[in-house]
């Protein structure tokens, strides 16, 4: 037994630095959710401030517009989840039909470049091109006789601007996953279908889609965990007070309550609500993925 412990010692040592950093910067904040039940006093700190029990949560429930924020979050996140499956699957199927390798490669190179740019950079670009007075998008609409649209300032447009710009950034990344799955389909299946007289469209329906289904299912299930992730980095860089009605989400609300108004207890309470719901969703999605598709994270 002792020998075994000695033999395993190097493993413990290897893990130790990472273990400690995670303990401090991930587990310590988890203990810090106590703050959701405190009225934080700067001198007493995270763990010793006066206990106010559920007061911060009551305050949260009575925040004006809280229901709207929750709805915006789920609505924006839900649309992104749906588009995050539909667009990449469709695009991968179409790209798979293109036989010219150079063309395929070039398209892929272009479409997943935005994935590697930050929302700060992309917002800088979007703010310029979407400007109602000087942006090129409205100039193009204008030349078609369409009145200019304030994509970032009109509350009715804002959520859709978010979803479309999110597709722009991320669909290339998603497409690769499905292209890889498509490349893995056994060509004999297509030959067999062709011998049976199936045309291209029938082959797509009866061979390609069913082969792709497990991957589509897996990606859909895993995306369930994002139901409250409407995309803080994107919204924060694109929104303004004019579009709070449709564009304010839980994360931006936490930021404003906590960082701008320094109301730490309430911000922690709202954040905790999100963490708990997300935990349940992510946990369920991993469990489902494991049960249904035998997916395991490690």
């Amino acid at each position: 037994m002792r020998r075994r412990t000695i033999r395993e010692l190097p493993f413990h040592l290897m893990i130790l630095p990472g273990f400690l950093l995670v303990l401090v910067y991930s587990y310590f904040p988890m203990a810090g959710i106590m703050m959701a039940f405190e009225k934080l006093s700067p001198t007493k700190g995270m763990f010793l401030s006066p206990w106010v029990s559920w007061k911060n949560f009551e305050y949260m429930l009575h925040l004006p517009g809280i229901a709207g924020v929750l709805w915006n979050t789920v609505f924006i996140a839900g649309m992104k989840m749906a588009m995050g499956i539909v667009v990449p699957v469709t695009f991968a199927l179409m790209l798979n039909e293109a036989r010219n390798r150079l063309f395929k490669r070039s398209v892929q190179t272009i479409i997943y470049f935005p994935h590697f740019l930050s929302w700060v950079i992309l917002s800088g670009i979007l703010i310029d091109i979407l400007s109602p007075s000087t942006g090129i998008v409205n100039a193009a609409l204008g030349s078609l006789g369409i009145p200019s649209v304030y994509f970032l300032g009109d509350p009715d447009w804002f959520p859709f601007t978010l979803v479309i710009s999110d597709v722009w950034k991320e669909f290339g990344y998603g497409t690769i996953v499905y292209l890889a799955a498509l490349a893995g389909i056994n060509p004999a299946l297509y030959e067999a279908a062709a011998i049976d007289g199936a045309g291209r469209i029938r082959q797509t329906w009866n061979v390609t889609l069913p082969s792709l289904l497990p991957m589509i299912m897996l990606m859909s299930i895993l995306s369930l965990g994002n139901v409250l992730n409407a995309g803080f980095e994107q919204v924060f860089n694109l929104y303004s007070a004019q579009v709070y009605r449709t564009g304010d989400i839980i994360d931006t609300l936490v930021y404003r309550i906590g960082v701008e108004n320094a109301n730490y207890g309430v911000a922690t309470a709202v954040g905790l609500f999100k963490s708990v719901v997300s935990f349940v969703m992510v946990g369920t999605s991993y469990l489902l993925a494991y049960r249904l598709t035998n997916y395991r994270i490690f």
Binding site: E8, P10, F11, H12, M14, I15, P17, G18, L21, V22, Y25, F28, P29, M30, A31, G32, I33, M35, M46, M94, E97, A98, F103, V107, T109, I110, Y112, F116, L117, S118, V120, I121, S123, G124, I125, I127, D128, T134, I136, W168, I176, V177, A180, A181, R200, L218, M219, E233, N237, V254, A267, S275, F279, V282, G283, Y286, N294, Y295, I297, F298
Partner: protein
Amino acid sequence: MGRRAFVVMNYLFLAAIAAACLFPLVNVLAISFSASSAVGAGEVKLWPIGFNLKSYEFVLGKPEFANAFLISLERVAVGVPVNMLLTILVAYPLSRERKDFRFRNAYAWYFVVTILFSGGLIPWYMTIKSTGIIDSFWALILPGAVPVFNVILLLNFFKTIPEEIEEAALMDGAGRWQALWKIAVPLSAPAIATLTLFCIVTHWNSWFEGLILMNSPDNYPLQSYLQTVIVNRDMSLISAAELARWSEISDRTSKAAQVFVAMVPVLLVYPFLQKYFAEGIVMGSVKG
């Protein structure tokens, strides 16, 4: 519709979508090289009009920009090796069989839990504050030093190395440390390269930590600085001398130039990312 017509339409559609993805970048790039009068008149589309480098001269000569750029480079230079070292050190023991490492599952869950649950923004901030690194360079390095998602990707890759290779080395008297550095790491070079590129891009792109963990704008990395001057238009960070020069080069051309200078490092690593990326992504999500 005939097969041929479909093929042509398909190519056209794909090309149009790709062009649409590139279009915003090209438009803003053209603006950055154009004369401010042409930009103001809305003449610039995909090609610069009145080509000049004034806005780039302005941006590169701006001390705040240069300072932030250097901080970001420093951050990548320190943060990426720290990330990779910790990723390798944690992933390797977790990739071993339970018979070789009894605590494997307990440790694995310890790390995975941090993906499933987090304390949220405020407790995270307070923790960092209480470790005394607010407003210091280490605030950009330590809190995110262990990228748990990368650890999982790498441990899954380590698992694919045939056990016999390592067993043979252990028979010959190699220790676990040697097995890690002499066998597991060299055999995982493509995976490690991919993750290194991920880390470079992540460090280069992250702006939020800089924004809230730094009190003094002099300590902002580039993306945090750009967040304040491009997205938020925080006038307090813009000096009077700068305002005076704006009449010459216009707000839009200078912003466009800043966006592109900030993009250069990503463009430089992109060809490599391209090469490894597909493998990387597949290794993460397609294992069943």
